[in-house]
Subunit: 379 residues, 2 copies
C-alpha cells in the first residue's frame, strides 16, 4: 500500500472533498484527523490502539523531537516510524509554531529563528533548511515548511511582514527539500492572520512556488470560529484542486465538520488527548465531563453503541473514579474514546461525501450534540 | 472454570508446591503472582493487557476502595469484577496494613481501628466485621481477615500483643464470614514479627480456628531477606498441607524464588508496577534502569526472546526517551514488561516443580541475573 506521495480526489459534495493520499508508509483516507504524538507518542496510548480506533496517520512535533531525543539520534535509530513503532504515515510540523509558543528568548531574523531550549537553556537555531533537514532525519512522510505564525491581534504591517517572511522561507524550504528521498512530500503553509487579502497573497505566493499540499496555519489561536471559517473560504479558491489541504491545529468536532464543508482534507489537534486526560469525553451526545459528580454512580457506558471498547464497555462510574483517583488509566481510556470519536466523525464525513449527503450528516451530528447526553435511565 | 473455592495440590518438589485454586471467577495456577490493583486498576495497564501477560488473579486494596469510591457504591454498580472489568479471580486485603501505613491519627483498640481518611479527614472505623462486610460488598473471591501488623523493630511484648489481637480478630472475622456467598474464601494472617515462637503461636491459633488459606503478613517491611525466609520456614510446618499459603506484599524476583522453595503458593507486590513507573525493568538479565544514559541510543529491545511485546518490540532507546520525557507510556510499557516477567517466573516455577527440577530452575535463573545485562553489540 506504499508508494510515492500522491493525492487522488475520489468525490466531492459541494466544497467538501473525499480523497486519498498515498505515502511511502501507506494510505491516508481524507478527510483525515491526525492524532498528535508530540514526543513520539500519542500520550497515554499504545500505537496499536491508536491504529485500532482508525487513525491512518499521526503528527509528531519537530520542536520537541529536535531537542529530545534529537533528530540525528532518531535517524541513527532507524527513523521515527521505527522509533515509536508506528509503521504508518507520519506528518511532522516544522517546529516554527512551538518555537513561537514555547521557547524562551526567541529571536526571529530573515535567516531563521534562534531560541533557548526549554529543557536545558541551550541556544538553538532553526532555519528553513535545518527544519527540512530535521524532518528528513526523522523520516517524515509529509514535511512542513518553516513559517512564522504572527500572534493575533496584529497590525496589518505585522501580518504582511509575517506573510513575506514565511514566503521567503517557503522558497528556501522548497530548495532544501529538492534532494529529499523519493516519495516524500513537502507542504507550504498559508499565513496572513485574520486579513483576507494577506491570506490570499500568501496562498498565491505558495502556489507559485509549488508544493505537494497546502496547509492553513495561524488559525485556531483564539479567534472566533467564524473568522477562522472565513479565512478558509478566502483561501480555498486560490489553492489547486488536486492538492490536499490541511488546517493546522484544529479543532473541536464542530470545527472539523465546518472546515470539511469548506474543502479541508486534513486536521491535527491535541484536543482529544489533552481533554481526555482532563476528564472530558467527546461523544455523539456532545462533550461529557467525567469528573462531574453526576457520573459517580452511573453504570452506563459513555455510548453503548460505540465501536470503541473504551466508550462501550467501561461504566461512567468507573471512568469518574479513575479521574478522581488520578489514575493514568482514566486519561488513557478517555484519550482512546476521543481519538475514536474523531476518527468516527471523519469516517462519517468520508461516507457522506461519497454518498452526496454531507449536509445531512452535519445536521444529524449537530442535532445529536444539541440534544445532549441521555439522562440516567433515559436510554 | 468457576466454582466453589478449592485448592488442589498437583505436585511437590522438596518444599515447593505446584497447585491450583478454584474460585467463583476461575482458576489460579500456583505458585501465583498477583498484580496489585490498588484503586481498582493495575496502574497504567488495561485489564486485558494484565490478563494477556499471564495473570490469573489480581489484588485490590480494601483501604483505598472503602474510602473511594466506597464499598457500598461498588456493590450497587455490580461488584468489583464488573467495575474494573476484570472478570477473573480477585483477592482483597483487609485494609489493616494500609490503615497502619497510610492513615493519619489511627487508634487501635480491641474493638478495631479508628483513623482519619487521608482523602477528606473524615473519621472512619474499621473492625474485623466491617472489613469482612466491605470485602463482601466488593465481591472478592478471596477475603483477608483484619489483622494488626506491628512495626519492626518491636519488643517481644509488643509482638505478642499484636499476635493476640490478630487472633481475636481472626475469630471475629471467621464468625462474620459465616454468612458469605457460597464459594468465597477467607484467609487468616500469621503475624509475629521476627519472633519464631510468636509466629508459630500465631499460625497454630489460626489453624485451630480454621481458614480456607493462610497468609504470612508483616514481612518484607524492611527486615533482611534471611529473617523473612527463616520466618516462612518456621511457619510452614504448622500450616495444613491442603491449604494455600500466601506471602503478603512480597517481593523481588529472588524473594519469590526463595519463598516458593519454602512452600509459598501466592504473592502480591507493587514492585513490578511501581518500579516500572520509575524506569526499572525486571528481566532475565536482572533489573535494568532505563533512565540510565547508556540506553539513550541502544536500538536493542529489553529482551529479544521475551514473549511480551513490550519487552521484545520497543527499543531501549525509546523506553529511555519515554522515561526522560515523562511520558506515561513509559510506565505503562515497563509495568507490562515487569508483570510479564513476574508471571514468566511463576510459570517457570510451576513447570519446574511438576518436572521435579525446581532447584535447577533457581540456579539457572539466578545465574542469568548474576551474569547481568548483555552489553550493546554483545548479543
Amino acid at each position: 500500500m506504499s508508494g510515492a506521495f500522491a493525492f487522488r480526489l475520489i468525490a466531492t459534495d459541494g466544497a467538501a472533498r473525499r480523497g486519498e493520499i498515498t505515502t511511502p508508509h501507506g494510505l491516508v483516507r481524507t478527510p483525515a484527523f491526525m492524532p498528535v504524538g508530540t514526543q513520539a507518542t500519542v500520550k497515554g496510548m499504545l500505537p496499536a490502539d491508536v491504529r485500532a480506533v482508525g487513525a491512518d496517520i499521526v503528527l509528531a512535533n519537530t520542536y520537541h523531537l529536535m531537542l529530545r531525543p534529537g533528530a540525528e539520534r532518531v535517524a541513527r535509530l532507524g527513523g521515527l516510524h521505527r522509533f515509536m513503532r508506528w509503521p504508518h504515515p507520519i506528518l511532522t510540523d516544522s517546529g516554527g509554531f512551538q518555537v513561537m509558543s514555547l521557547a524562551p528568548l526567541r529571536q526571529v531574523t530573515p535567516h531563521g529563528v534562534t531560541f533557548r531550549s526549554h529543557l536545558d537553556g541551550a541556544t538553538v537555531e532553526l532555519t528553513p533548511e535545518r527544519a527540512i533537514e530535521i524532518q528528513a532525519l526523522l523520516g517524515a512522510d509529509i514535511s512542513m515548511q518553516l513559517d512564522e505564525c504572527v500572534r493575533l491581534p496584529a497590525t496589518r504591517s505585522e501580518i504582511e511582514r509575517g506573510v513575506r517572511l514565511s514566503l521567503a522561507w517557503a522558497e528556501r524550504s522548497k530548495r532544501a527539500f529538492a534532494g529529499a528521498d523519493a516519495g516524500r512530500a513537502l507542504f507550504g503553509i498559508v499565513q496572513g492572520g485574520d486579513d483576507a487579502a494577506a491570506r490570499i497573497d500568501s496562498a498565491r505566493g505558495l502556489v507559485d512556488i509549488g508544493f505537494d499540499g497546502y496547509a492553513v496555519g495561524g488559525l485556531a489561536v483564539g479567534e472566533p470560529q467564524d473568522v477562522m471559517l472565513a479565512m478558509i473560504e478566502e483561501v480555498a479558491p486560490v489553492l489547486p484542486r488536486e492538492r490536499p489541504r490541511y488546517l493546522m491545529g484544529v479543532g473541536t468536532p464542530d470545527d472539523l465538520l465546518q472546515a470539511v464543508a469548506r474543502g479541508t482534507d486534513m486536521f491535527d489537534c491535541v484536543m482529544p488527548t489533552r481533554n481526555g486526560r482532563h476528564g472530558v469525553a467527546f461523544t455523539r451526545f456532545g462533550p461529557i465531563n467525567l469528573k462531574n459528580a453526576r457520573h459517580a454512580e452511573d453504570p452506563r457506558p459513555l455510548d453503548a453503541e460505540s465501536a470503541c471498547p473504551a466508550a462501550r464497555d467501561y461504566s461512567r462510574a468507573y471512568l469518574h473514579h479513575l479521574m478522581k483517583a488520578k489514575e493514568t488509566l482514566g486519561g488513557t481510556l478517555l484519550s482512546t474514546v476521543n481519538i475514536a470519536y474523531y476518527q468516527h466523525l471523519m469516517q462519517g464525513a468520508r461516507e457522506a461525501i461519497e454518498a452526496g449527503c454531507y449536509a445531512d450528516l452535519c445536521r444529524r451530528v449537530e442535532a445529536g450534540w444539541h440534544l445532549g447526553d441521555i439522562p440516567p435511565g433515559g436510554a
